[in-house]
Amino acid sequence: MAKYILKRILRSIITMLIIIVVVFSLLRLMPVEGYFENYDKLSETQIEVRLTQLGLKDPLPKQLWNFLKQLSTGDLGTSNIYRKGVSINEIVAEKMPISLRMGLISLTIALALGLPLGVLMARSTRTRWKLWDKFGTIFIVIIQAVPSAAYHILIQFAGSQGPLKLPMLFSQNDPRSYILPILSLSIGNIAYYAMWLRRYMVDESNKDYIRLARAKGLPGSAISRRHVFRNAMVPLIQYIPNSILFTLMGSLYVESLYSIPGMGGLLVTVIKRQDNTMVQALVLIYAAISILGLLFGDILMAVLDPRISFTRKEGSR
């Protein structure tokens, strides 16, 4: 097990290094305007001087080496356009906690509602009218089929009008203003978790070992809990670390709809404004989060599924 995890970590580090090199190199191809706020107004010499200051006139391997050294101290660089002269670490440190807080609350809600809904749906497929299954399927189909923008706006509108009169826009110090964005953020995930858990549970409950568990006289509730649910959770749990980590990056649409000053949409903004150093930093953050998410997911799977840690064959999954 320890060996498997160690190998997995090592591979993640190598992947990350490759990504750093690729992203760094690609961004050197970008026009140099991306390092200036007022490129048009500057003379040739001013530009030359500035580029030399930034170290961009050095040979590429040296630039890369300097960048790696800078990264290793945890410094993501400085914004040149989005917020000139401000450290990117500072910008991110300001925005990330907001996205993280909203994301974690909504993810918790999604799991707390989505998983029980999935269980109810799966269990009701064995009953005569399959009421929960039908009700849940309608909900899931609506959420999946309607463009999310539509129900986000509906939630914002319905919640802020009528008897509820909840604040339409987010403000840090008003807990009531958290309600609508969190609802918007969690509703899609509720449907997602319910759908997959139901599906995996139905799959599991048709397996032979469930028939054997029934034949040995285990009551239905115990089978559902000890065998079906636990086994159905394994494939889902792999993605939970990823979901948690990605709450750091916020949601583009929901954050702009409720004007939440989080991470959502930051990447799009800096790309549009051609802030090269920020694009580079954010892309690397996204990559790091994905890699960490997969790593934690795989480790969790190895802990839960005894078949994995003993797999000798590398890359068989």
């Binding site: 070992y209 034949a215 040995k216 009551p219 000890r226």
Partner: protein
């Protein structure tokens, strides 16, 4: 022998609803199972043998239901059971089951020990250390070495034969009176098959079990069975002691079944196979269900369902050929050969 009936099925009808149609899977079957015997139910795929025994444990799929008949066991009529709670008094505790494919019949994410322990806790009323000890003795019972170590392992660390031993251990841990083995060796290597059958026989002796085998492998039947019930198209067409059915079969379907044994084939000639396909059970079957595939069928076979005719106190068959008024129809040459062998065998 009559007093020793442990399970008695009477006129059982089982139906399934499939896409609005009704499939009549078991058509008025009666069968007595005697205490301590090994009964083999044989028949081709789809003849309803699995469905038939599943009804003893209330394990029919959700779209299947009993449509009349009785299953008498321990003074109760299991056919009247409606709730899961009632069935839990039977499942495992009275009747346990060994499934066909040991590769899939164990939970891959639980240790072997835990899976046996579930049965021990449920049916032997043990807990903690005592339950653990019972698990180890179960594993030792079914011939698994180093039970202490093996109990902590997961199914993927066991070979197919070993897993089937574990499945048998789970069944035995329930301390049942009847053990149903649903094609227990079909998914196994030929070299392992005999070992598993020996193990089941040993367990039967040690725990005083009644066993019901379901199989289409007549080799298995010859190896283990005291009595045979031949099933075709949802009906039992012939029952008798093992020797009676093997050496003096009476129903044309049993003739055909035995004739298709490779051992009876003549070298150089194509192997006998039964023409046609079994009847569609979505439609009502008239007369003898096997008649359309039987080249020697009588006219009445297409009109009226034959009753059982007693051949000997233990042997009966459901065919008009046994009616005193029936014309004499000779069984195929293979069967005559068998009959001769049988006579010689018994002197």
């Amino acid at each position: 022998m009559e007093n020793n009936v442990i399970l008695s099925v009477q006129d059982l009808d089982v139906k399934f609803t499939l896409r609005g149609q009704v499939l009549h899977a078991i058509r008025g079957v009666s069968l007595d199972v005697y205490k301590g015997e090994s009964l083999a139910i044989v028949g081709e795929s789809g003849s309803g043998k699995s469905v038939f025994v599943k009804t003893f444990m209330g394990l029919l799929d959700a779209n299947g239901y009993l449509d009349g008949g009785h299953i008498l066991y321990g003074g109760q009529d299991l056919a009247q059971f409606r709730s899961e709670k009632e069935w839990l008094t039977i499942r495992g505790r009275e009747i346990a089951m060994v499934l066909q494919d040991p590769m899939t019949s164990l939970n891959p994410l639980k240790t072997i020990g835990k899976q046996i322990e579930e049965a021990v806790v449920l049916h032997q009323g043990l807990k903690g250390e005592a339950a653990h000890q019972a698990v180890l003795s179960c594993l030792a019972d079914v011939g698994i070495d180093q039970p202490e170590k093996r109990a902590k392992q997961y199914p993927h660390e066991f070979s197919g034969g070993m897993r089937q031993r574990v499945v048998i251990a789970i069944a035995i841990a329930c301390r049942p009176k009847i053990l149903i083995c649903d094609e227990p060796t079909t998914a196994l290597d030929v070299t392992i098959q005999a070992q598993i059958l020996e193990l089941i026989k040993a367990m039967q002796k040690k725990y005083d079990l009644t066993t019901i085998y379901i199989t289409h492998d007549l080799g298995v039947v010859a190896n283990v069975a005291d009595r045979i019930a031949v099933m075709y198209a949802g009906d039992i067409v012939e029952t008798g002691a093992c020797d009676e059915v093997f050496y003096d079969p009476r129903h044309p379907y049993t003739w055909a079944l035995l004739s298709s044994l490779p051992q009876l084939g003549v070298k150089g000639e194509p192997l006998y196979s039964i023409q046609g396909t079994p009847p569609n059970l979505f439609h009502e079957v008239r007369g003898d269900a096997f008649a359309p595939r039987n080249p020697q069928a009588l006219k009445i076979d297409f009109v009226e369902r034959p009753p059982f005719f007693q051949v000997s106190p233990t042997h009966k068959a459901r065919t008009w050929l046994l009616d005193p008024r029936a014309p004499k129809v000779d069984p195929p040459a293979h069967i005559l050969q068998l009959r001769e062998q049988g006579v010689n065998r018994h002197g």
